[in-house]
């Protein structure tokens, strides 16, 4: 057990739980408070919250580990995709979906297409986000067992329940404010680490030379082209297809704040990746990849080598922050999918707001327990699992959502067929493994696009009221409903 690091990690967990308890009363006031923090978040807090929701275990540990194992161009592909997440989402959906006034992504599908599309989308959200908890829990288990000196299974259970507690208690309020803190810890931690590395090596140029001397293929493109392209596409779309990220827009005060928060998050994200660039170089220079059980542990080796224990503890808390701040947003998306989109909308329309938020709280705990059970024996490495979820959501959601905002002619039947065909094609490709890993959406997403368009054109156009709503999303008319 590493005592200093453990103490810092323990203090960090206590603070997060206290934030959850502090916001408990406010969050339970209404559904709007629990799922969207009362739509009151400003640009500064919103930027950190959006940044922290996207920056996950894969951004920090996965990108650096992948970069050291597969070369710097692999790390840069990761960065090339993720830095584009917020600009791309801003260009296509951020302001418009905030203007629609909905609380969840399936809510948007209900407003634009109707009940059947909403139910399918709620199921996709619940399945996709529950599966997405697994890599986050895996990462927390790896870090927890390393720092606390306990076995992996215990670490997954303890830390998994730890972040579930504050998220379930305080809903979007607690998640947003813990994300502000977690985003700051993550960024300060990695910038400090990069500073220590650069001072140690006497600058970036010397660091890259050391990395190339230790690992001569570090600068090479070592994988097939399709792996890089698939990775880029899956990340690029993440801000559009991942409900855990899209829900941040709903919490913003208005569409202008939603866009500015996305911009702020992009600037924070590029700082994270520039520091990550340095950490990747240091990981290659250390030449430890062959001796590690898991490539994701390179990051931890770099921390151990370059930082004194107290700063190392802060950086490890930063990694935990990255994991928790993404996992809590996923839990909220699952909770909203079951309590708001399925129960309140279709099972008991007269349910009180207090009951729905209570149900949301219970759903988070159940989803977390399911995630923990799977994470004890994870089905793949972190980067691959993350790629699967991103690909699944893109293949099913991506085009019905974007077309719903931009194309008046997109209708219910088209969206339903597009969503189901994309999801089924993706699952078949994963099971048959005819394409390289994580390249599945390159085929499945265009299938969804084509079928959404073809079926929409072949069937009846949406009613005028719905078509007017598309103008409203773009601020071209007043509210129509």
């Amino acid at each position: 057990m590493r005592v200093t690091e453990s103490v810092i990690l323990f203090i960090y967990l206590i603070v997060m739980t206290l934030i959850g308890i502090y916001f408990y009363k406010r969050a339970r006031q209404s559904e709007s408070d629990y799922f969207t923090a009362g739509r009151s978040i400003n640009t500064f807090v919103g930027s950190f919250a959006a940044f922290a929701a996207v920056a996950s275990s894969s951004s920090l540990m996965g990108a650096v580990g992948g970069g050291v194992a597969n070369g710097l161009p692999f790390f840069l592909t990761y960065a090339f995709g993720v830095i584009a997440i917020f600009p791309f989402a801003m260009f296509l959906i951020a302001g418009q979906i905030r203007r629609s006034g909905v609380k969840t992504v399936p809510d948007f599908f209900y407003q634009r297409y109707g009940k059947s599309v909403q139910i399918v989308s709620a199921l996709v959200v619940v399945i996709g986000m529950t599966f997405y908890m697994i890599p986050q829990l895996t990462a927390s288990g790896i870090i927890g067992s390393y720092v606390l000196g306990i076995d992996y299974t215990t670490a997954v259970i303890v830390l998994g329940l730890g972040f579930t507690l504050y998220a379930a208690l305080g809903g979007m309020w607690a998640i947003t404010y813990t994300d502000l803190l977690q985003g700051a810890i993550m960024l300060i931690g990695i910038l400090l680490l990069a500073g220590f590395i650069l001072v140690d090596h006497g600058g970036l140029s010397n660091l890259l030379n050391s990395a190339l001397a230790a690992s001569p293929t570090f600068g090479d493109v070592n994988l097939p082209w399709m792996s890089y392209f698939g990775l880029f596409i899956a990340f690029l779309w993440f801000g559009i297809v991942s409900p855990s990220v899209v829900m941040r827009n709903f919490a913003s005060r208005d569409e202008k704040i939603a866009r500015r928060s996305a911009m702020g998050a992009t600037i924070l994200y590029i700082l994270l990746f520039l520091a990550g660039f340095v950490v990747t170089g240091a990981g290659a220079a250390l030449d430890v990849i062959g001796s590690l059980e898991n490539t994701d542990m390179v990051f931890v080796s770099v921390i151990e080598h370059y930082l004194p224990p107290i700063l190392g503890g802060i950086m490890l808390a930063g990694i935990m922050a990255a994991i928790m701040s993404s996992a809590d947003a996923m839990l909220l998306a699952i909770s909203a999918g079951v309590a708001h989109d399925i129960y309140k909308k279709h099972i008991n329309k007269n349910a009180s707001e207090r009951f729905v938020t209570g149900l949301g709280l219970m759903v988070m705990i159940v989803a977390s327990v399911i995630g923990i059970i799977f994470a004890i024996h994870p089905p793949g490495i972190i980067a691959v699992m993350v790629g699967w979820v991103g690909g699944f959501l893109l293949s099913s959601f991506g085009f019905p959502l974007v077309l719903g905002i931009w194309w008046k002619r997109a209708n219910k039947t088209g969206a339903l067929v597009g969503m189901l065909s994309g999801a089924v094609t993706f699952l078949i490709l994963v099971m048959t493994q005819v394409l390289p890993t994580n390249a599945e959406p390159i085929v499945a997403a265009p299938v969804s696009l084509l079928l959404t368009m073809i079926v929409s054109v072949m069937t009846e156009a949406p009613p005028k009221e719905i078509q007017d709503r598309v103008d409203f999303y773009h601020g071209m008319s007043e509210e129509t409903h």
């Binding site: 600009p87 791309f88 260009f91 302001g95 090479d220 493109v221 500015r260 992009t266 931009w406 773009h474």
Partner: protein
């Protein structure tokens, strides 16, 4: 006032983003090296700053359009 969706800043900048990404992935100069790192990597590195730039352009542009409206 109606604005054409084709001239929307979001659509125009999506095309700009797609053109740069296409340049990198179609050209794919994997065997050209600068400072020991493949040019593919450096093109992506430049792309990071380009993404931030077009993001800032979008926010300013759309807010100006909203004001005019």
């Amino acid at each position: 006032m109606k604005r054409s969706k084709v001239k929307d800043p979001g659509i125009i900048l999506t095309i700009v983003l797609a053109v740069y990404a296409a340049l990198v992935f179609i050209w794919w100069p994997a065997d050209v090296y600068l400072g020991g790192i493949s040019l593919v990597g450096w093109l992506m590195f430049i792309g990071l700053f380009f993404w931030v730039l077009i993001g800032v352009i979008y926010v300013i542009w759309i807010e100006k359009l909203d004001q005019q409206q």
